[in-house]
Symmetry: C2
Subunit: 327 residues, 2 copies
């Protein structure tokens, strides 16, 4: 089994190698934002998962590299367009694509990335390509659905926990599941095994996204990277807020509503007040229990996977790492 860091390096090396090619393509105005977006770095989580799943069944990792890049390019395409819709100005400490290159260019370069991801995917010559392309396409549609739900939730105060979980399944989890399943299929694993890996990815993705919500309020400011409380300031419909709205009695609820409707406020004060409410309602522990629930389901699926324990080791390590646990 190839360790995670080696896979990340392989992916970054391949992105760098192709960067020259992208920059040589015309029109430059279309390809420069694509290269900029891919060059911003990041954990390369999705391509790593794809290669790890592939590596469970085959050592010829190079064969799956184009598909690994495809899921990364697709993921970056969603970031480009989401950042326009969310009017986000900074990503990974850099100006977002639409800020740097203009909104029209971000729309169009994003579109080109969507098709570029298919171009990379189709470079793989596997007898399972039809299944992989179908899976990738179904996933892409679902990710759009997830983003739409996320936008719809902005204007709603009555989002249920079930609706929220379905939204993050679509927006985040399915692409992790797809990466794992595609990796397995490309290595010619059995259909059932590839599906198990998909389900592992779904549960891992759910835990991962819930933890992202948790960290934004309860995380360690030193380690978090972003400012703590951003979600609270922006009224983001996180698992925390939805659970709080479901659990709060009338008095607490109206204070919460007051903060949600406030147009002028001191950010620090709002963060402290809402965080305190979360603590009193036990939202911290409720969220932790939910993360644990999905993490354990992921671990159980992994446990039942018909590959040897040594091969699973890196997937377990990566899962622990993603969720900030020591293994």
């Amino acid at each position: 089994m190839v360790p995670v860091e080696t896979l990340q390096k392989k992916i970054n090396r391949e992105i760098a190698r192709r960067s020259a090619g992208l920059n040589a393509r015309q029109p430059a105005e279309l390809y420069a934002p694509i290269d900029y977006s891919l060059g911003m770095g990041g954990k390369r989580l999705r391509p790593v998962l794809l290669l790890m799943a592939f590596n469970l069944f085959s050592d010829e990792i190079e064969k799956a590299l184009p598909a690994a890049l495809a899921v990364e390019v697709f993921h970056n395409f969603t970031l480009l367009h989401d950042d326009i819709m969310d009017k986000a100005e900074v990503r990974r400490n850099n100006p977002t694509v639409h800020v740097k290159f203009g909104e029209n260019n971000a729309i169009l370069s994003g579109d080109a990335m969507a098709f570029l991801s298919y171009q990379y995917l189709l470079e793989c010559r596997s007898e399972r390509m039809f299944d992989v392309t179908n899976l990738f396409t179904k996933t892409a549609v679902e990710v759009c659905e997830g983003q739409q739900y996320d936008m719809d939730f902005e204007n709603r105060l009555d989002v249920t926990e079930a609706e929220y979980l379905e939204m993050i399944r679509l927006k985040t989890a399915v692409l992790l599941g797809c990466s794992l399943q595609a990796g397995a299929l490309l290595a010619n694993a059995a259909d059932e095994t590839a599906e198990q890996l998909y389900n592992f990815g779904i549960n891992l993705g759910m835990a991962f996204q819930l933890q992202d919500d948790w960290l934004d309020t309860f995380g360690d400011p030193q380690k978090f990277g972003k400012k703590i409380g951003g979600d609270i300031v922006a009224n983001k419909k996180t698992y925390l807020l939805i659970a709080a709205l479901e659990k709060a009695a009338e008095g607490t609820k109206s204070t919460l509503y007051k903060w949600l409707k406030a147009t002028e406020f001191n950010a620090e004060e709002k963060i402290n007040s809402v965080t305190e409410m979360y603590k009193q309602l036990g939202i911290k522990e409720i969220t932790e229990a939910k993360i644990e629930y999905f993490f354990l389901r992921a671990a159980e699926i992994l446990n039942q996977l018909p590959v040897n324990d040594l091969s699973k080791k890196h997937l377990i390590e990566l899962s622990n790492n993603m969720l900030g646990r020591s293994s």
Copy 2:
């Protein structure tokens, strides 16, 4: 051979049949703009071409119907995003998607349509699916390149004829070529024959786009549908303007520049003045000769196609129809 009108009806019936399914999909905010866009009508030129090419080699037209819808959905996706970039407010006498549903929804529903077009395409079960998906993907990237060139040209006064022709090849012609080639491949035609149909489509597309430029200035207001002179008012870099800038002597050129730079002007006056200049420079005839050049190349390729004359009849009719000629 199935006549064009029958094919159009088949396509519209299939779009209507799937409309209920699209409207049942959730979230409604994602699918309503898609259904709206596909329901706006239009000539369904690309799916008709796909089915006609298929029908040259097979009578089982139903088998190619999902692929025909795929190229139509893809085409409508490009319209959605182009209309945002161009700030266009009306299309086919209806408010554009971003005007009716908001810009974010137009971006996201457009994205979903891009993937939906793959979903439709992959419904076809042909042994040539890999080739067809590759062709479709290559074409999609090229269409993005074409749109980028078109946007770049807005800020340039030195666009050459060769650059312009390459832009319309990418933005318009390749999708016609792709539709024809995909139809042939799905019917299991020989690779070489499918490529001939691609080249036929390219030349037909070039003639078609040049005629669109010609019509906007010299068309019959009764038949044209849009207001004559829109391109002139908007300083659009059409074949006419580019040819005029290449051909005009200094005096005429500076008058042309004056109009291009004017921010306040009487539209009627600008249209009349520029049209008069075009006429004096012989731009009308130059453009007609260029249209004829591509039309004849298309006809010649069709002539050499290894299918019987009766089968070609409808393609010839459609070409004449597209270019407003009586056959």
